[in-house]
């Protein structure tokens, strides 16, 4: 195994996210990085892993070079095990059949809350974003992995609007609000893999990606972030991982 092959930030996100998935899990994934990560995991170490698409697809087989453009069109249904009404796919989350949900967002805060609804004051926003979709339901009802670019404007002290609940105000506030299961499991960025303190539920660095310094992470984060003095460093993407990714997305639609 060599570590010399160059890779893009998106490829790094997909690889690091994929490593968080284990065989046999049911993974609720959107298109793009989440689907690439889940499919990568399926091909390399999780043949029994099942992908769920919000549009109503359970267990599709993702054909290399034919990645679907969204989760709600027929391309997502190629060789699927089952198609369900949208409400029933989302109810699988509530019933507890799903292990991991994959999310992104315009903003994430110290406690893993995500905003995809409003930038600025919600009553008079600078930008009206497209909204929650199934994000709120996924974040409320299952373990979630957040994959996004690590930028100061995205990693904020407090999101302008809690579209998808993380640990809310930290501590036990999530469970107190009635969200007794699920929560943010990990946040994967192009700089690091982040987790949450077991008690305070504040975001912290689990590991830095190769060549990334603690200061780099702090400079790109809008709130205080705990980083160990000698933080662990992630294994760089392997040739095997990159080969599978590039086989899946030969035109670099999502990994450019």
């Amino acid at each position: 195994m060599t570590e010399s092959t160059p890779y893009t930030a998106s490829e790094l996100l997909a690889v690091m996210s994929g490593r968080l998935l284990t065989d046999g899990q049911i993974v609720f994934a959107g298109v793009g990085i989440p689907l690439l990560a889940a499919t990568l995991a399926q091909r390399l170490h999780g043949p029994g892993l099942t992908i769920l698409f919000e549009g109503g697809t359970l267990g599709p087989f993702v054909v290399a070079g034919e990645l679907p453009p969204s989760t709600n069109e027929q391309r997502c249904t190629r060789r699927a095990n089952m198609l369900l009404p949208i409400t029933d796919v989302l109810l699988l989350l509530q019933r507890g059949y799903v292990d991991v949900g994959f999310m992104g967002g315009a903003q994430v805060d110290r406690y893993g809350n995500l905003n995809s609804s409003f930038l600025g004051e919600p009553s008079n926003p600078a930008v009206r974003l497209p909204g929650t979709g199934g994000g709120n339901d996924i974040a409320s009802l299952t373990q979630m992995i957040v994959a996004m670019k690590h930028e100061k404007r995205r990693f904020v002290e407090r999101v302008d609007f809690v579209t998808s609940p993380g640990f809310l105000a930290g501590g036990t506030t999530r469970a107190d609000a009635g969200l007794v299961s699920g929560g943010v499991f990990k946040v994967v960025t192009d700089l690091a893999v982040l987790g949450f303190d077991a008690t305070t539920k504040a975001m912290k660095v689990d590991a830095l990606h190769p060549g990334v310094t603690p200061d780099q992470v702090r400079d790109n984060t809008g709130f205080d972030l705990h980083i160990d003095d000698s933080p662990t460093v992630t294994e760089p993407p392997t040739d095997a991982e990159l080969q599978v990714l590039r086989h899946l997305d030969p035109e670099r639609l999502y990994t450019a």
Partner: protein, 317 residues
């Protein structure tokens, strides 16, 4: 919406649910929609969107309509820009992930000229389902603690009388009208749906009126030969219109995929010229054409053949 159970029962009792033919034109179907109605739109994002019906509502000059849909795409832009409606209840609103945020949605909502009422995707589905079941609410376990819930005034949080657990109750949504597009139905409205169902069945059963467009009207005999394939029963359907390519430029499972070139053109037009761009689009593609065939000819034969080839390919495996 907001009907009492008795009002809902009376409205349903007053509908002609007999086994009768109800085939009509797009124009006649549009006349079944009254100004001020709440209209639920079937399909999701770019899939099985009842585009021809929305096209017909705009051409009929409807006004003060409110809408709901699981996820809203370009039809939402056209609803706002055409002026037929200023309120859309949905979970996500933009053309589609690959095209970024809708400039039109932003322009109308950020200036408060129109409202995008945001609910979680599952909560919308459960509101339709409660309506379809004839109950006033449905319990659920998401949205708690979020600002999505905080900004909604018609949610209730209760402690479950059996377990003491916190649950949210969402109110039933019984649309005045549901617009549904299917691959096949008979002249009575018995519908078969291939592939992804989205929320269409709950929407149809919840609504006080259902207008169904279909790629093809088949015989009742064919329906009766496989009754376990009927997804929506004729008793819930008030109008049937045969409209080939009735979702174009969106997709209809197994028949045609989205018209991507057209959608790219629309995205560029609205990104570059925003409201002026969508106005041009409405003039050229919605108000301009003499009829649906002329609209389709504007999309172009090459695109129709390409979208159809891609659509049918789902059955090539």
């Amino acid at each position: 919406m907001g009907q009492s159970y008795l009002e809902l029962r009376e409205a349903t009792a007053a509908r002609d649910r007999s086994l009768r033919e109800k085939v009509m034109t797009l124009e006649e179907a549009a006349n079944l929609v009254n100004n001020g109605d709440h209209v639920a739109i079937g399909g999701c994002t770019l899939s099985r969107t009842p585009f021809a019906l929305i096209w017909a509502l705009i051409r009929a000059g409807k006004s003060d309509l409110s809408f709901s849909r699981s996820i809203t795409s370009t039809e939402g832009d056209l609803i706002f820009a055409s002026g037929i409606g200023k309120h859309i209840l949905t979970s996500w609103f933009s053309q589609g992930i690959v095209w970024g945020i809708s400039k039109i949605m932003r322009a109308y909502t950020e200036s408060n000229r129109a409202q995008f009422e945001e609910w979680s995707h599952m909560s919308i589905g459960l509101r339709y389902r409660a309506g379809a079941m004839g109950v006033p609410f449905m319990p659920m376990r998401s949205m708690m603690g979020s600002d999505v819930a905080a900004q909604l005034d018609n949610l209730k949080e209760i402690d479950c009388p059996f377990t003491g657990e916190k649950v949210i109750l969402v109110p039933a949504l019984n649309p005045d009208v549901a617009l549904i597009h299917v691959q096949r139905c008979d002249a009575y409205g018995n519908a078969q749906i291939d592939g992804l169902q989205f929320m269409d069945i709950d929407i149809a059963m919840a609504a006080n009126k259902v207008i169904m467009t279909t790629e093809r009207i088949v015989s009742n005999d064919q329906i009766r030969r496989s009754p376990d394939q009927t997804k929506i029963p004729f008793i819930a359907v008030d109008g049937v219109v045969e409209v080939p390519y009735g979702c174009a430029p969106h997709e209809c499972f197994g028949m045609y995929e989205p018209f991507f070139d057209h959608l790219d053109m629309y995205a560029t037009l609205t990104k570059e010229k925003s409201e002026e761009g969508v106005a041009e689009y409405l003039e050229k593609f919605v108000r301009g054409p003499a009829d649906w065939s002329e609209y389709l000819s504007l999309l172009g034969m090459a695109d129709i053949l390409d979208a159809s080839r891609r659509g049918r390919s789902i059955y090539n495996d």
